[in-house]
Symmetry: C2
Subunit: 212 residues, 2 copies
DNA sequence: TAGATTGTTAATCGATTAACAATC
DNA sequence: TAGATTGTTAATCGATTAACAATC
């Protein structure tokens, strides 16, 4: 890629939201949009939008604005959605199965290729067309299929050991739903912690705060 | 409560993580901890911890540090975990059911009292001991039980209408998993958007970024 | 051309870090 | 008391916003 050097995490985190809004606009048949109008729709400043986009290149045209379809696809490219990453789900409990069935991995830059669990009873059960495999087969599966991403929907206590095993097996990125606070121990490992409980507690605080 | 005035959202978002780490330390039998040691365990600066905590009061003691158990429970109070909010889940699909079964609402400041869906076929089905109710009964249920929180695990297209209806029924806070970008239209409404897809795309970017 | 809107530099604002006096 | 560590003020850093010249 081109400019993408030390893009701040704040900017990166806004990209998927731009992508979403631009997709909607495109579906609605809107062809061009100015940073001003987009800013009003998204609830941020026009300046911020222009700053953010210019981290990656000049996608707009003075006096015109941005072409919706083109900008949408540019951001998709920046995010890497066109180069799908092979992913496995580890932990086929309620959450793991819901993620497998519910998430549209294909349009988010991922390709789900396996689901694992440590319960014998689950083995073979089909989830989203994939058989749940016993965790015993993890090593072999990874050597043969080299997944790059592991989605962890496992109990807290297994998280550390399993993540270490997975790093050994070549996993580069974790989407971590376990309550364990996974940290990127090596510089070439990416961790996206999704602490649903934390989000819930934040909501708790903010709702109580209303009446103070 | 006392000092909690214009506490920045950055600080609030860190509270659940402090709460989690302090809970662990307490379970491990650790009685006291200094900001320095906590900072090392959590991967942030001691200065930040002291700044954050002092938004709410002076919980430490010079020369000693913080009492783990006491600080843990103080943060629980600040978050409002001791004053549970009544919550309903709207949308009993994969995700809604997984959230109902998987999340420990009680220890996060919530009390789950109802689950709704618009599919006749689901009505009566038990999830986490609660019968799935048809959405037709939403008004009556809310008038009788006055839930304060709605958890939205519904398709994008129903989100706007439903959220408006729910606000009319007295809902004060939303935990929104739908792909619709819910925004707090009124000042006394709190929205916590959990865009799992956005988190996934951020992971995509960051993993691809490793090899650039 | 005149009007609109970008890309980009400069100013502001807020959050994080450093420093240190207060005090247990 | 001496040592440790807080609470808090001041300095720094980074992110957001404002301004405007460039240009379609």
């Amino acid at each position: 890629m081109n400019k993408r050097d030390n893009i701040s995490i704040s900017v990166i985190k806004r990209l998927p939201r731009y992508y979403r809004f631009l997709g909607d606009l495109h579906v609605k048949g809107i062809v061009r949009i100015s940073s001003k109008e987009l800013s009003e729709r998204m609830g941020l400043t026009a300046s911020q939008i222009r700053q953010d986009l210019n981290c990656f290149g000049g996608f707009g045209q003075q006096g015109y604005g941005y072409n919706v379809e083109q900008l949408h696809s540019e951001i998709g490219n920046i995010l890497g959605l066109t180069r799908p990453l092979k992913a496995i789900i580890v932990g086929a409990g309620n959450l793991g199965r819901a993620l497998a069935s519910h998430m549209d991995f294909e349009s988010r830059g991922f390709h789900l290729i396996g689901i694992f669990d440590n319960r014998e009873s689950m083995a073979g059960q089909l989830v989203k067309g994939l058989p749940v495999r016993h965790i015993y087969g993890l090593d072999e599966f990874c050597r043969e299929n080299s997944p790059e991403i592991a989605i962890l929907s496992i109990p807290r206590d297994s998280a550390r050991t399993l993540s270490e095993q997975l790093i050994g097996l070549g996993i580069k990125g974790f989407w971590n739903f376990s309550h364990y606070d996974l940290r990127p121990v090596f510089p070439d490992i990416v961790v996206e912690n999704v602490h649903l409980s934390d989000s819930l507690m934040t909501l708790c605080y903010r709702v109580h705060d209303l009446s103070d």
